[in-house]
């Protein structure tokens, strides 16, 4: 008659629901950044070897440097996107913990209500005990009830002590959450700092590839001024990022 098999069905349904969880967008951005970094790394490592075998005015020199520069830009854009998402998530998490802290503080303010209730219950039982003691003098058969009521007084006291411990735990939890908010804010600031540093480094990488390209042009111009490849302006950085 008792079909506990339903428990298994419900457990299986809960597990199936958990498997439907959408993929983490931050992980996707992280993978994209790693892919761009790997592409740039492969090109950058082989750049000097590739162009050392070419004549100074060979157009492939310029295109090789530009290709690495573009890969560098794409990598930096991907890293920026990853850090923007990481910072946004850190901010959301900080806000979520702040809300938890606020609710915990509200609980702490409610502690007095529990104490008042416990005192009221204790007083109620004391009153019953006084009244019952009078009755026990007249009717000894009520002594069992008296014992039971004394047991209830003790149980209520025990619960009062439990309640006090719970209030202490609530206060400790509030302290932990406050520390957590501070730690999350600090982490969020650190991630924002890392994002800014990444942006600054990106500017330096662009400047380096521009200088490297200028050197290649100079090498061509002094080797063969007439055949110097016409310098082509590099496209704007934003457009490269979208390639």
């Amino acid at each position: 008659m008792i079909r506990t098999v339903w428990l298994w069905i419900m457990t299986a349904a809960a597990m199936a629901a958990a498997q439907d969880k959408p993929p983490d967008p931050l992980a996707a951005l992280e993978q994209a950044a790693e892919r761009r970094t790997s592409e740039w790394d492969t090109l950058a490592k082989g750049l000097e070897l590739r162009i050392s075998r070419l004549l100074p005015c060979d157009p492939r020199v310029r295109s090789a440097i530009e290709e690495v520069g573009r890969a560098s830009d794409l990598r930096l854009v991907a890293l920026q996107q990853y850090f923007q998402a990481a910072v946004a998530r850190a901010k959301d998490q900080t806000e979520a913990v702040k809300r938890l802290l606020a609710s915990q503080e509200a609980l702490g303010k409610d502690a007095d209500a529990d104490r008042t209730d416990a005192e009221q219950e204790g007083a109620g039982i004391e009153g019953q005990l006084v009244n019952l003691a009078e009755s026990v003098r007249r009717r000894v058969a009520l002594a069992e009830a008296q014992q039971a009521l004394e047991g209830l007084r003790e149980m209520t006291r025990q619960r009062g002590a439990q309640n006090e411990r719970r209030q202490d735990q609530a206060a400790a939890l509030g302290t932990m959450l406050a520390a957590m908010v501070a730690a999350y804010q600090s982490r969020q600031a650190a991630l924002e700092g890392e994002m800014s540093a990444m942006s600054a480094e990106g500017t330096r990488w662009s400047a380096y590839y521009a200088a490297r390209l200028a050197r290649a042009d100079t090498e061509c111009s002094i080797t063969n001024p007439d055949a110097q490849a016409r310098p082509r302006p590099r496209p704007p950085q934003q457009k490269k990022g979208k390639q």
Binding site: V97, N131, S135, L142, E150, G151, L177, L191, R204, I222
Partner: protein
């Protein structure tokens, strides 16, 4: 999560406070009057016991609701768990590459330093600009490395704070549940107390009162002492049906709605049964309605193993209840069904253990 917090803000203390007032005001002179004795005390005690049970249920429900909300906040905290950002790339490799490039460019500059050829000088200047760019890049990489290290440290610190708070939530939720369980035990003890009060008021035995014994940490109720043993009208002893029964807190057996708790009291008087069942059930996710159920029942004991009695719920629905003695002496299966009422539990089947 915010919704959970708002829901908690609405969790009412009013329910249990009203129930407490009702209980305390139900019969303020019951204990004083019990000394006079009489059958009327029994009826009055039953009424007050019902009010005490209602208060216990409301108080327990309040604490369980708080525990559920705190548990939900704790799961919200799990969502704020940190995925420590893995270092996307090694700044050391970048720094090494830039350092190597700086060395190469530096050597070229040295090579061309003493060459006065204008073209070579032009090249040397281009190399100088490249070296400057590499130097700036090297500094930027070092700066980012420092900042990334600090970010990792702070992420680790935040992760530790998260773990501590998770532990704090777990302890706090456990404390709330323990307190709710204690309330449930007290509620059962109040029922037993009022039963003893009623029995004592009706008993005519005058013996010296026993000295109050040390109070045990947990109250175990004995079946009410009876001056006269109950007559057997059933094939099994009446004690297989009568007394106080509860739904076990672990490994409970049920079919249909899952009970959270059940308190059943069955009395027998001259071959006639009466009693009360009070319980709360777990509603399926997404299902709204009244999870609590209370009904009184009565009827004659029959010469049959399974006993069936008529019941009436607190909101007037009628129905029947079967009491089926279990395989062990302290087990009793209950099967009930009532008229349909919107949002109300109307049937249940579970096994109770004797208190």
């Amino acid at each position: 999560m915010l919704a959970a917090l708002c829901a908690f803000a609405q969790t009412p203390r009013d329910d249990y406070r009203t129930a407490y007032r009702n209980w305390r005001q139900a019969d303020a002179t019951l204990e004083s009057d019990s000394g006079a004795g009489g059958a009327a005390i029994g009826e009055r005690a039953n009424r007050v016991a019902a009010a005490a049970t209602q208060y216990g249920a409301a108080r327990s429900a309040f604490l369980n609701a708080m525990a559920a909300d705190v548990g939900q906040s704790a799961s919200g905290l799990a969502n704020a768990a940190l995925a420590v950002p893995s270092p996307l790339e090694s700044t050391k490799i970048l720094a090494d590459r830039v350092t190597a490039e700086l060395a190469t460019v530096g050597r070229d500059i040295e090579t061309y330093a003493s060459d006065a050829d204008p073209g070579i000088q032009q090249l040397r200047q281009a190399l100088e600009r490249e070296r400057l760019a590499l130097g700036a890049l090297s500094g930027a990489i070092a700066e980012r490395d420092k900042i990334a290290g600090a970010a990792q440290d702070r992420t680790t610190a935040a992760d530790q704070a998260h773990r501590r708070a998770s532990d704090g939530y777990r302890d706090f939720t456990a404390a709330l549940k323990q307190e709710a369980a204690q309330i449930d035990r007290e509620t059962a003890a109040w029922t037993a107390y009022y039963q003893k009060l009623a029995d004592g008021a009706q008993r005519a035995i005058e013996v010296p009162p026993p000295q109050p014994a040390p109070i045990p940490p947990s109250i175990k109720e004995e079946p009410p002492a009876r001056a006269v043993p109950a007559p057997f009208v059933t094939p099994l002893p009446l004690l297989r049906y009568t007394g106080a029964w509860v739904y076990p807190t672990v490994n409970g057996l049920y079919h249909g709605p899952q009970p959270e708790f059940i308190d059943l009291v069955v009395h027998e008087d001259n071959g006639r049964a009466n009693g009360t069942l009070f319980g709360r059930f777990k509603l399926a996710p997404g299902v709204s309605g009244d999870a609590e159920l209370r009904f009184d029942f009565s009827g004659d004991f029959k010469n049959a193993r399974n006993q069936t009695f008529a019941l009436e719920t607190s909101d007037g629905a009628k129905g029947t209840m079967d009491l089926i003695p279990g395989p062990a002496f302290n087990l009793l299966e209950v099967n009930f069904q009532t008229e349909a009422r919107a949002g109300k539990i109307r049937q249940g089947n579970f096994v109770l253990v004797k208190k």
